[in-house]
């Protein structure tokens, strides 16, 4: 395990995320059918496949990889997740300076969360991906402050995102199209929070393999 994560890790992360999102395509579709329009699994699968097709293994900067992800998701994902994840990766790219140590991991996750909040105007407790990214950021900050390396910070973030996604189950949606369901949105896990946990887990898995 190294002290910093470079562009090769970022490429491996995004490739791994694509595989995991493809494997979980039906699960995300089912979650989104329950409380949304059912396109989340399809959109994420399509978006990340397009990203991987454009990934340049010769890219030398983490920020360059993240920027490519942002632009590709924005132009290939038709649902809300296109602009949301697109803006998240764009702000993450802006926050990434050189290779990432644990503070760099914190900056990237903070950038992503800031982008999602700016675009979606959601806050915690509204049954959205913000409910996964917010605890992820807190966990990464805690890990970094405790002197844990970047892979450990990502693992802490991924675990917190997973717990955050599960915590959306009893919530009533008050943002996005799920909010039209009112109380009937209770009892289902939010698909965007779920894909967030998958993407951050892919980041941790690939960081631990560096």
């Amino acid at each position: 395990m190294t002290e910093s994560l470079n562009a090769a890790w970022a490429v491996a992360w995004i490739r791994r995320a694509q595989v995991v999102l493809a494997e979980n395509r039906m699960e995300l579709i089912d979650l989104d059918r329950a409380i949304g329009d059912g396109d989340h699994g399809e959109n994420m699968d399509r978006g990340f496949k397009a990203v991987v097709a454009k990934l340049d293994a010769g890219e030398t900067e983490v920020s360059g990889v993240l920027k490519l992800v942002a632009a590709t998701l924005m132009s290939t994902v038709g649902g809300a997740s296109g602009p949301l994840y697109g803006t998240a990766f764009l702000r993450a790219a802006k926050a990434a300076e050189g290779d990432l140590d644990s503070n760099g991991v914190v900056a990237v996750i903070a950038g992503a969360l800031e982008g999602i909040v700016a675009r979606g105007k959601a806050t915690t407790g509204e049954k959205t991906m913000v409910d996964a990214w917010t605890p992820a950021l807190a966990a990464a900050q805690e890990a970094a402050a405790a002197g844990i390396g970047p892979a450990g910070a990502l693992r802490a973030a991924a675990n917190a995102a997973q717990a955050g996604a599960e915590a959306t189950i009893p919530m009533q949606a008050t943002k996005g199209r799920a909010s039209y369901l009112g109380e009937r949105s209770i009892g289902h896990q939010d698909p965007g929070a779920t894909s967030t946990a998958l993407i951050l887990t892919a980041a941790a898995d690939t960081a631990e393999a560096v």
Binding site: D37, D39, N43, M74, S75, T76, V77, G78, G79, A80, G82, P83, L84, G86, T87, R119, G120, G176, R177
Partner: protein, 137 residues
């Protein structure tokens, strides 16, 4: 042809919908009362699915701006707004003053905005008309 024809420097509209057919239908409807106003439909994804397309919106806005129009944009649902806002994020400050996302009802707002553009209203007036607030008071 009416006396107050909009021209370059006037306001054109972009109609953004998750459905290609809905966007085209709103353009058809609004055009009926605003024959000289340029209306562009940006509906559906690039491959014809339900959704919105960053590139379709961006291309429509860029083309209208290149022709010298101010651009008013109307949308159908929240995530269409997010797509439009993503496009607006890439404009510089000067360009941003010529492009406006209107928070109004798609059909009524598009008709009201188009008619206002037809009679020579500027971007501010078109945006105010497109919000169609009188419907909700």
């Amino acid at each position: 042809m009416t006396a107050a024809q909009p021209q370059a420097g006037g306001v054109a509209l972009v109609i953004v919908s998750h459905s290609e057919q809905l966007a085209a239908g709103v353009v058809e409807l609004a055009s009926q009362m605003a024959k000289d106003v340029i209306l562009r439909a940006a509906g559906g994804t690039d491959d014809g699915r339900i959704g919105t397309s960053f590139d379709k919106v961006n291309d429509a806005v860029s083309a209208l701006r290149a022709d010298g129009y101010d651009v008013a944009i109307l949308t159908d649902l929240g995530s269409a707004n997010m797509t439009v806002e993503s496009v607006l994020d890439f404009l510089d400050d000067e360009e941003e003053t010529h492009v406006r996302l209107i928070d109004g009802p798609l059909v009524e707002g598009a008709v009201a905005a188009a008619v206002t553009a037809q009679v020579g209203g500027d971007l501010e007036a078109v945006a105010a008309a497109g919000r169609a607030r009188e419907l909700f008071t």
